[in-house]
Symmetry: C2
Subunit: 644 residues, 2 copies
């Protein structure tokens, strides 16, 4: 097949396959030829100037291509995407090809200057920025329209010709990473820098946050254990615990911002400039003039989108919320029924039965969350947002509101309407533990098992084929292309967010919550690591400087937890005993304390700098240098102009 | 004198005096010569390349110099300070000399392309950036040490050799501005664009805010009047008013951000890049290495500053707060005494006497505010902040906290401790009106009168002197150099901030507050305009993109006003009538409503974009263009590199 492409130099000596492109079966020959030509074509001709090599499989019929790039091409690509690397003087600077000699570990023959994840990110960026010139359609597919400037890869994806693009695993590196990550039993930190080198910043930051959050939970867990051991379970000793909770939830989020800045500075993403955001692949509209770029491209009326959001999505979300509350009421009926049953025929079985409604409800909550998640995705993509960031924000908002209500409404109801601390405790424990077990199972173990079975079948099939020198690569590609796709850190953060809710909102009535959260998170680190390394296709690295909207979500939760904890303190018998005369005084005092705590919280958030001092100085230094360079340039110009 | 300076070309044909430099009497000749040489010296030699002309006065002994610049020099300076001007295609762009032809109204002989205020700002910037090279001291003053990179003008100022630098008024422009601003009685907007051209963005933005705030108060005033006219004064009809107050205070601040963005986009300051901040003039320390710039310059240990802040300033502020509360208590004693007196001998006189304590207290508050202001300035400058912005933030924080407590503590005490709505109303009215009258008097009328008297004396003296062709300029400089200095918009914003407090915190018990505020602000516009045009020296223009920390201060006040208004609503007889059974329910309901309103407020602040859509698009367009240009450049480089 390759012989028919005179322009593809498949005998490039150092061709190293980095990214796999899978085209649909039966893709027309002319399309493939055109696409491959565009990929390898010179930059000056509007190509991506990458290397392509078809993967020769025995079965045939499959169109799989390996993409690589020359070392020089990758270095120039690193400049285009704006990578930030460490210089010889330990400062972080945006990489440019002309200043390449000043960077640490740079040598013209050092092919490890860029990590493989970075190379793959560069190739992905170059492929996505391969744009139509004067083509009106994809050759061979008249219905797949193109217009000047349209990303070819995105059109190929939306028209189904391109099945997938994914980066290849590097088996040796992966083995090393697995070993240092979860291969041996050890106490200590995760190898975050190695994870970042292999999977990119977004995923490394998630694991960093997970680890930080687990450590942050330990003081809570340590305080929680004696509550359990010494049977301080009479629900009135929790004032101290709630107070601690208040401080804790504020402090950990502020500290995280600083830790995050330290990490992302080291990784260079803190300094990376935001790239101009292109329309997301699914965005459609009629051709018009984009007011920002001045280019002809699909535009979609903002009013139409607003109508879809406010007249369809919003009512739908409200309906779902109503339904969730309705299910909650059924749960309370069940709970009452179980209680009646227990009272009528008291036995071991009946006291076990007391937990059944909670467990059923927890399972139902999980199912509803998952169904709603699909509905929210469908609706948000139907809203037709132009930018991925706007799509993500609307999706996250929809999902967060529903999940928050779905998970916590019953607890709020029990705490502040029924005032039943015993039930609250039991309900909280059941919800937390059940959801953790379900999550761990559905998220990692089940896919791992499915994948393992599939792999064995594949292996058997492979072994029956003849082998040649390249089989291991063919085998690897064939295995990896069937693996599931990792859809980003959304679900992982969501899980942590809900866990944070369980721990910070009500944990004072059930101090063991933090203990369970710590235990869950330790296994979560391992199961997530397993998931990343063995279950899913390798994801493309995504540079990122912070955990984005999740920081805001966690901060909002911590504000809500101040309110709930203050009310719980106010409801405690201890505090009530201080205000025997007047309930009004009690409520006023609680309200006053709550306002003070909230005020202190906001002042603290304002006063604690988001970046540690040394990072601030380093950033200021860079800014000063660039301003100074600009000034020098202007001075030179001025001196010349004034001489004339 | 000028003859002794061979390097000063005093016969520059188009010399237009823009800025006046006044040196101390008896400044040594060698110092003057050195300083003038540095000002006119070529950029390449480290000079400012400006024009200097001594002002020949009859009396002699005074060293006054006029500074100007060639047209070309000003254009290059405009690039250095990063001015943003309108292009021929109506977009706003950073001015560069090389792209000068693309700007609207640019022509090589159009000397009005830059406004005079901009020219003066450029000259100030160039003078301040005149830096020592290898001089170890100011020639003739061995005690005035210099080190490489130290701003010469700042050292001259701190060592008292340089008395002042100020920009000259442009009498013709000023006349036009005065006419369109306050010269004729008219209903309508202020000529903000003209104000901005003459006084710069900071001052124009203050007047813009003052105008906006006055318009925003009108709905409140309109609702307030019927309350007074129809004698709805039984303090229980104010629920509606308080509710309206809640919405109003949130909305106006959000809308202001958008209006501010529209204005500053038009003025170009929204797009101006922040310049690197130099140490403020008063900053001192031992010579060390600045970690950011790597230069040798004075450094001052942050720990020492923290000690000064927390061990001296903080206790002092607390002491002042305590003193202010003590004075408040004396006021309540007085109030009690007046009440007793009124009850004992009821007469017209005694009922007038009822208002006397409030008036005395209002005057005392004003006096305390002003004394504290000086103390705060002294303390903050003693804290030795390196940057002007940090100095300003600490000063504003100190002053705001004290003024807030000083002005509003008595009102809070009356409302929420004494529960005396009648006294609250009387106290609020007296405080508001007295402080407005005092402010108007102390701020504008008194200085105006003093200045007028001084001017007449000066004129008499002038007339007795012989006249020559340049006398009018000499006269002008001599008059202006004796005028007071305008110390920025701090006091003006502070006044508005306290007014906003009176209106939004408690106005529901005294709806006429908004009416008085509107009346005050209308006269305030005129008296502030008078102050700017006739009383003070022309200030240097300061580019600014927003009202800075005041936005935050007003927003904080509006949060506090939500709390007070909710409590006032809860205390109203109307609402109390709804909850006759249980006071607890009432308080819980109020707390719930308050939390809801605060939540809505924060969500609104989050949802309403800070910039209107068209400004967002324009900004995005600029960003896109610069990214596109960068990409093109990289593409060219890449194509070249890959060709090799």
């Amino acid at each position: 097949m390759a012989e028919s492409w005179p322009f593809v130099d498949t005998f490039e000596p150092n061709f190293r396959p980095l990214v796999v492109i899978e085209l649909a079966k039966g893709t027309k020959e002319e399309t493939i030829e055109w696409f491959a030509k565009r990929i390898v074509d010179k930059k000056a001709n509007g190509g991506a100037q990458l290397l392509v090599k078809p993967l020769v499989t025995e079965s045939g019929g499959e169109h799989i291509y390996l993409v690589g790039a020359s070392h020089l091409r990758l270095l120039l690509g690193a400049e285009t995407v704006g990578l930030v690397k460490e210089c010889s003087d330990n400062s972080m600077r945006t990489f440019t090809y002309s200043s390449r000699k000043t960077f640490k570990d740079f040598a013209d023959d050092n092919h490890n200057f860029l990590t493989i994840a970075e190379c793959q990110y560069i190739i992905k960026h170059e492929l996505e920025n391969l744009r139509a010139k004067d083509e009106k359609m994809i050759p061979g597919y008249p219905q797949a329209k193109l217009y000047p400037g349209k990303s070819i890869v995105r059109r190929l994806l939306t028209s189904g010709i391109l099945v997938q693009i994914f980066p290849l695993h590097d088996r040796e590196e992966l083995k090393k990473l697995r070993h240092s990550w979860y291969g041996r039993v050890k106490v200590g930190y995760q190898p975050l820098d190695e994870i970042r080198c292999y999977f990119g910043e977004t995923i490394a930051l998630y694991f960093g946050f997970l680890e930080y959050f687990t450590f942050a939970l330990i003081p809570m867990a340590v305080i929680g254990i004696p509550y359990y051991v010494f049977a301080w379970e009479d629900y009135d000793k929790y004032v101290m615990f709630a107070t601690f909770n208040l401080l804790w939830s504020t402090v950990i989020l502020e500290v995280w911002k600083r830790i995050c800045a330290i990490m992302t500075y080291r990784w260079g993403t803190l300094l990376m400039k935001r790239q101009f955001e292109e329309p997301r692949p699914g965005f459609h509209g009629v051709l018009g003039i984009n007011p920002v770029t001045g280019r002809e491209e699909p535009v979609y009326s903002s009013i139409k989108r607003q109508i879809r959001i406010y007249l369809v999505s919003l009512p739908f979300v409200c309906l779902c919320l109503y339904f969730s509350l309705y299910v909650m009421m059924i749960y309370f009926d069940l709970e009452q029924w179980a209680l009646d049953y227990h009272e009528a025929n008291e036995s071991n079985f009946s006291s076990l039965m007391l937990f059944v409604p909670s467990i059923i409800y927890a399972i139902v909550i999980e199912i509803m969350n998952r169904i709603y998640r699909y509905a929210a995705e469908f609706l948000t993509s139907w809203e037709n947002h132009r930018l991925e960031s706007s799509y993500q924000n609307h999706l996250i908002l929809k999902v967060l509101v529903f999940n928050f209500l779905n998970c916590f409404a019953s607890l709020f109801y029990i705490a502040f309407v029924l005032f039943d601390m015993k039930l609250l405790r039991q309900s909280l424990a059941t919800l937390l533990i059940t959801s953790q077990i379900l999550n761990q199972f559905a998220e990692s173990l089940l896919p791992y098992w499915l994948q393992k079975r599939h792999k064995e079948r594949m292996k058997k099939r492979m072994c029956s084929l003849k082998t040649d020198t390249d089989l291991s690569l063919v085998e690897q590609v064939n295995l990896e292309k069937e693996m599931g796709t990792y859809f980003g850190t959304f679900d992982d953060y969501l899980e942590l967010f809900l866990q944070f809710g369980y721990v910070s909102l009500f944990s004072c009535v059930y101090p063991l919550a933090a203990v369970f959260a710590v235990l869950n998170n330790i296994t979560e680190i391992y199961s997530d690591a397993l998931k990343m390394c063995r279950v899913y296709k390798r994801p493309f690295a995504e540079p990122t400087a912070n955990i984005g909207v999740w920081q805001l979500a966690f901060e909002t939760m911590s504000v809500i937890s101040v309110v709930t904890n203050c009310i719980l303190i106010g409801m405690s018998p201890q505090v009530n005993a201080l205000f025997t005369d007047s309930k009004t005084d009690l409520i006023l005092t609680v309200a006053l304390v709550e306002h003070l705590v909230l005020a202190i919280k906001f002042i603290m958030a304002f006063l604690i700098p988001d970046k540690p001092r040394d990072i601030q100085i380093k950033l200021a230094k860079l800014e000063f240098e660039s301003l100074e360079a600009l000034k020098q340039q202007q001075m030179k110009l001025a001196a010349e102009s004034l001489k004339e």
